[in-house]
Subunit: 430 residues, 2 copies
């Protein structure tokens, strides 16, 4: 008898009718002879409503109180789902984060899970009950409720699957898997049958929104096999995320048997901002000061270019950050500028980062050249480039982002262009 | 430095603006040099919304899941109130029922509080923090959330005040105290400065909705002095409920110094139903069987009349129950009738029970006669009568209930008729 952990997101349980549907999906998994624990998110826009309510009252609520407030969303959906299953003849119990043994670090709004004491979950599973657990939350050493931040419910599910030694963790969402590109931009994008953790991690970091990077990291660390699949098409196997990708796309994949594809996904991130500081004196330690200050303020810097001006022997430093970090970054830059007594600050939000990701590019020189060529043929100028072992990113004009993704898809998934375009739900999770 | 427990009902925290007002009321009490713990109910109609949601999914939800669901209402209002107070410069923390140490019996929907482990509440009070506690809930021996049923938040507040040894417990609501009668029916009704537990208990039982009987019982057992006062008129001292009433109404009270009034309150309950079983064989044990069955089904029977038919030597048994218990009562009566093989069942919902309550009537013979005379002069027929030491109730036609209350008020509060009618909020809690 297998043990599986399922996870259902907020859109999957948005109203009574959808909760009934999710209960049916869970019941079917149980009927297949599985023991089942399911993590559930808050119903639809519940959490947004709570955020708004707090916003009407307080500008900067204390993390402790904010977490106690936000955690109630899942505490509504979980008992509703449990009582529905029970009424259908599948005995179920709901457990909140504390009851399910989720212990977090003493941090609010984006706490990490330290451990899961699975005794109570196991007890109910052993009794043959389906266990519904509130996602996104746990309890810290002070006995206070802590939430896990964005992507928290995915992380809850994967961590629970790891702690229980579950056979798999199925993440049910409103898309039916991980695609080679956002199907709203590239209609012929192919659903991947499988993908590696490291590719999924990079794709998540560069803009694919199917899974949050922290959730993928948790899966990789605990070696939990994830299946991303659709709540509304539960017979579709979706995409398997695990240590080994087989390299075959679901339809017309490029790699044959034993031969992995070079690129497994293409993503665009339009929420980047390019910053530049020019005429920086060519002194040792200036860059260290700047990026040290950014790092200690928890601002992730992605692309970095430093260039020397021949005329006055000063440097220009350019880099990108998330748009959400723009104001904090500007404040820090102003401070660095004041310390130096020179320099000019520029920024540009009208940019996008397009990236190709694939473990196959490790053994294949020339993938970068193929990427630049494809973009050049589409008349797209590159502002910055950054690479890692399995990823190449280019910063371009935002207006050209969709064209860039389509050009790259034609380059790296040439066979897909001949396929029939698929009908894809507009709410695809990219 | 006094320690006070405050309680705010759902209408007091119905939206962001009202939460801000309640925070101000709490802050003012703290400013007066008090340590403050406050119990808060769910915002306005939140709980009704949750009930409706569950009703869309399941006909008879399990008590455990239903309680987990309903308890979330207070888990929203409590952190909102705490963060608001903190932002105003009054450090506050919210605690849910479990965190605040409320241990209940292993029963759902209407669990009783077994004990309160006040360690954590005390810890935060000692740090000079205002402690906001979710009303209506606790945790049972299984670690499951249990709710306390109707009037639960009042009971939470009073029990917490008792456990903390608080100096007083102020129940803030949408009325400014306990009146001699429902001011919507009797405009000249007088607010009582004080009233005894036993009177308040009887008034609550016979239809006054200011406090739930269980809350008053809890106060009497723990000897907690309750003040019923208005959230929207916090300078008004309201009504003190304690062991000793001084017998003076707030305005033109009847009792002088050292002389208690005969009647302290008049109430009508329109949610009663009169049932009758006729032609019951005159055998010993029939009544015991009937009322034993009702009692073991948790149905409270109030007035009982048994009369003998001279013609066939059978009995007629008539009694009243709450309308909510009508269906269960009829089912039981049908069963008793089947067992006996005879009898007819009748019921009438178009009735009301009007009652006068007062500890002063113990020493004053003739109060009952005064009541019957006043009702007779108003042309109101009595269907049933029941009395206790400090209460006399009459069952009458429902259409005459308001007239009856007014006639009784003229009889027992004659001086009030000369007062100016007061402007009373329409949402008065009767």
């Amino acid at each position: 008898m297998s043990l599986v952990v399922l996870k259902f997101g907020g859109t999957s349980v948005g109203n009574a009718e959808k909760i009934r549907h999710v209960a049916r999906v869970i019941a079917d998994v149980a009927e297949q002879g599985n023991r089942v624990a399911a993590i559930v998110s808050a119903m639809g826009k519940t959490t947004d409503g709570l955020v708004e309510l707090a916003g009407e009252l307080v500008e900067n609520p204390s993390g402790r109180e904010y977490d106690a407030l936000l955690a109630t969303g899942e505490m509504v959906s979980a008992p509703l789902l449990a009582m529905t299953l029970t009424s259908m003849g599948y005995p179920a119990v709901s457990l909140n984060g504390q009851q399910a043994g989720f212990v977090t670090e003493d941090l609010h709004n984006r706490a990490r899970i330290l451990e899961i004491n699975t005794g109570r979950v196991q007890h109910h599973l052993d009794k043959g009950e389906i266990v519904i657990v509130t996602g996104f939350q746990g309890i810290n050493s002070k006995g206070d409720i802590a939430t896990l931040g964005r992507g928290g419910s995915d992380t809850s599910a994967i961590a629970l699957a790891g702690a229980l030694g579950a056979d798999r963790c199925d993440i049910y969402t409103d898309v039916d898997g991980v695609y080679s590109a956002d199907p709203r931009v590239v209609p012929e994008a192919v659903r991947q049958d499988d993908i590696t953790y490291i590719e999924m991690l990079e794709l998540a970091r560069v803009g694919a929104k199917v899974l949050h990077p922290r959730a993928v990291e948790t899966a990789r660390n605990a070696n939990v096999r994830i299946r991303v699949r659709s709540t509304f098409d539960p017979d579709n196997p979706g995409t398997l995320v695990s240590t080994y990708g087989t390299g075959g796309g679901s339809e017309g994949g490029q790699g044959g048997e034993g031969q992995s594809r070079a690129v497994s996904g293409i993503a665009a991130d339009k929420k980047q901002v390019e910053l530049a500081m020019t005429h920086v004196p060519d002194q040792p330690g200036i860059a260290a000061q700047l990026f040290g200050a950014l790092a200690s303020n928890n601002i992730s810097v992605d692309m970095i270019i430093q260039s020397v001006r021949q005329d006055d022997n000063t440097n220009d430093i350019a880099f990108t950050v998330d748009q959400t970090d723009l104001q904090d970054t500007l404040t820090l830059l102003e401070k660095v500028k004041a310390d130096m007594g020179s320099g000019e600050i520029y920024y540009e939000t009208d940019v996008a980062k397009v990236s190709i990701v694939g473990v196959g590019m490790i053994d294949r020189p020339g993938i970068a050249a193929d990427m630049f060529k494809a973009l050049a043929q589409a008349n797209i100028n590159l502002k910055m480039i950054s690479t890692s072992e399995i990823k190449i990113s280019c910063l371009i004009d935002q207006a050209q982002a969709d064209d860039a993704v389509r050009a790259l898809h034609r380059q790296f998934f040439p066979e897909a262009a001949n396929d029939e375009p698929k009908l894809v739900d507009a709410k695809v999770g990219y």
